[in-house]
Amino acid sequence: MTATSPGSTVAVDFAPDEYLRYSRHLILPEIGLDGQRALRRARVLLVGAGGLGSPAALYLAAAGVGTLGLVDFDAVDVSNLQRQILHGTRDIGRLKIDSARDRLADINPGVHVESFPVRLTAANAREIATGFDLILDGTDTFATRYLVNDLCVLLGAPNVYGSIFRFDGQASVFAAADGPCYRCLYPAPPPAGLVPACAEGGVLGVLPGLVGTIQATEAIKLITGAGTPLVGRLLLVDALHWRVRTVRVQRDPACPACGTRAIRDLTDAEQLCAVPVPDELDAAFGAVPDIEPVALAERLRSGHPIDLIDVREPHEWEIARIEGAHLIPLASLESRFHELSPDRDIVVHCKVGGRSAQAARRLRAAGFRHVWNLAGGIQRWSREVDPGVPEY
């Protein structure tokens, strides 16, 4: 594609239609032809093609980033479409990276997409990421966030970070020269008991759009050298009340990743998501037993007296409920113990089983001896017993 126009010594490296495609970049002095060339040479790895990865991939492809690597093992589910705008209704059931490749090729056929249909792990991360200039973290667990961060520190590639929770978002650029890394800010993952179960955490659909486009902005700035990237600053966004703060953060000399460099190898942290932690009560009485949805249905049909307690929130109860259940949201459980009898069988349930596992433990700690947790929550009940209960 390189050619020299007559009478000129300027190397021309874009096809005529590409000057038009990128004209709004080319006429910005901060980007210009040099910046656009840098974008074409750039190799950006996106880990996750979901809520954050969707807008980031769309805008980076449109911007003319030469190579986009996509890592995602998941298939498109209908519940993704409220926020994961890389994928459409016709893509349900397809691998996200296949759906993404088609969409990105339509937006900009000049972009080379490299697909990695795998889960990023300590074993494969280095091989996948080597050769990429920067890594955009669009993952959704604490385990992968620490993995991506440590990978970036080890490879010396900036970690273009974004993260979301309900209506709140965070963005930064970690592991850049002179800036802190994710571990400098958060040395250790939160205890598993304090992490909301992944599938149970709601999120405003547009929020990953906001944060993912901030990540794309930072990637373009890092590649072109334009402006001041979020190195050493953590951007906090509260979309519900529009509180936006930029907090100055700094490198921790004692950080085991980028400070002391004690972390020399990648490790897979435990998935900190709805994993019940054994406690002393479990040691004393054994773990809280699960009851399968079909088994519960049979016991209810046989007239066996069971108190079925739904520990979800009232707005979830409005969407779907199991007939005969009694709503006691987890947060008010202790104050409503008097509504329950220690002599009766109690089955607790939530959406997928995380919150109800906590409820079952608390009930047992309070002296309720006959407690079961409905395996898979109302979701499995809907799939296996009563399809009339909507899944959400």
Partner: protein
């Protein structure tokens, strides 16, 4: 003295407030603000040593606070 406390994401949800105003004795440090918030209903969702910023700059627990300071307590967030 009076300081304003900003809570974000899961910490705001746990305590049920996004902002609060605290009256503290003279000589208080940032860690006292954290201890106070941890003492509120739902406050134990905060770890003893969370990420902190005073007036939009990273802060450590032993750092003194002054009247009018804005203390942000920032949780880790993993969603994507």
């Amino acid at each position: 003295m009076t300081v304003r406390v900003l809570l974000f994401a899961s910490y705001a949800d746990a305590v049920g407030k996004r902002e609060l105003t605290l009256e503290l004795a003279e000589g208080a440090v940032v860690g006292d603000v954290v201890a106070h918030v941890r003492g509120l209903a739902g406050g134990t969702a905060l770890p003893p040593a969370p990420l902190l910023a005073v007036n939009a700059a990273y802060a450590r627990a032993h750092q003194p606070v002054r009247s009018g300071d804005e203390v942000a307590i920032i949780p880790p967030v993993a969603g994507g």
